[in-house]
Amino acid sequence: MDLNEEKELVRQAQKAPDAFAKLYDHYYPKIFGYVLRRTVNLEAAQDITSETFVKALRKLWQFRWRNVSFSAWLYKIATNEINQYFRQAEYRKSASLEELQEQGFEPMSPHDPESELVEAQEKLKQYEDFLEIQEKIVRLPAKYQEVITLRFFEQKQIKEIAEILGKREGTIKSLLHRAVEKLREAD
């Protein structure tokens, strides 16, 4: 999806469900993957992803394509949710699918979340190297976790990371350098 196409879709998605569906299909894997790589917790990743898209849907009419792209805007929402997850001993799970139904969202299409989760859990265990290093990353302050994940796992450019985190590019470079150094010290 190129930038102009995305701009047009975002404009349409403010009113048309079809356009929103296209954006959702495009970004769901990215956001879910990002959240999972930050939390290494499938259930939390589900809830945070749900909350991210619910918030995006609710705030989409306010979104203006100015300094931040739609992609960065979504990552920003997800990042805030992840930070909230880490701050709170028990994430409020307001966006779990059951909670969404209680909030008036339509009933879910039939799927078996338990078996899906078990299967995904088994897959996740196979990424041993990642899990090993992620265990050290989560011990770092959130600001370092953010830049490491976005730069190395999400392959975001410095400019994009700056957009997502609302910081200057120079600050991101400096944060990234320090984050790697901290991780190296923890190794």
Partner: protein, 197 residues
């Protein structure tokens, strides 16, 4: 491990690419059927109507303070003046009437003079030689004499009065030139004791 080596390790790390198609589909359905898009239509209208409503509200407020409120104050001042026993005594004694009301310098002033119909009547009482509608520009040559009253709308009474001579219009009266006499509420209640001279 060196800094650069760790960077290389992070770059080449195989990260989990896991999807939950069931969750994805379920959330998709939930979002698209949530009714938020119907609410967006309401929000659209709200966005359009909000500035219009604000503009109308401002116009109404301005109209109230610039047109309606002054008219109400003028009407109230007339009523207060008419019901004031002291003014009633003045009117009866000199056959005067309210010839004009004007808001000036933060106060409300009522002009007491003879009715226009009597301006050409030779039996005009002393002190009320020629009377005309003070706010009417149609009879610029005519002059009037009478009394000017200051009405206190808060206390609902005539608070001061002064004599006027040979003035062409209420708006032309220089209030600083008027020797206003204060009326105490007690005086108002006993007009027969007030010194009309």
């Amino acid at each position: 491990m060196k800094h650069e080596d760790l960077i290389e390790k992070l770059k080449n790390l195989k990260t989990p690419e896991i999807e939950l198609p069931g969750h994805k589909q379920a959330l998709r359905v939930a979002l698209l059927n949530s009714g938020h898009f119907k609410q967006r239509t309401i929000m659209d209208w709200a966005k359009i109507l909000a500035p219009i409503t604000a503009a109308v509200a401002i116009i109404v407020v301005m109209a109230f303070f610039n047109v309606i409120q002054p008219q109400l104050q003028i009407a109230r001042a007339k009523e207060i003046a008419r019901n004031d026993p002291y003014v009633q005594a003045l009117i009866e004694e000199h056959e005067l009437d309210i010839a004009g009301v004007q808001l000036r310098d933060g106060g409300v002033f009522v002009l007491l003079a003879l009715p226009v119909a009597e301006t050409r009547d030779q039996s005009t009482p002393e002190g009320c030689r020629i009377v005309r509608d003070a706010l009417s520009p149609s009879s610029e040559e005519e002059l009037f004499s009478g009394y000017i009253l200051k009405v206190d709308l808060l206390e609902k009474r005539v608070s001061e009065f002064g004599e006027i001579d040979e003035v062409t219009a209420l708006k032309d009266i220089n209030l600083e030139d008027i020797d206003f006499v204060k009326l105490e509420p007690a005086e108002t209640a006993a007009p027969e004791e007030a010194d009309l001279e």
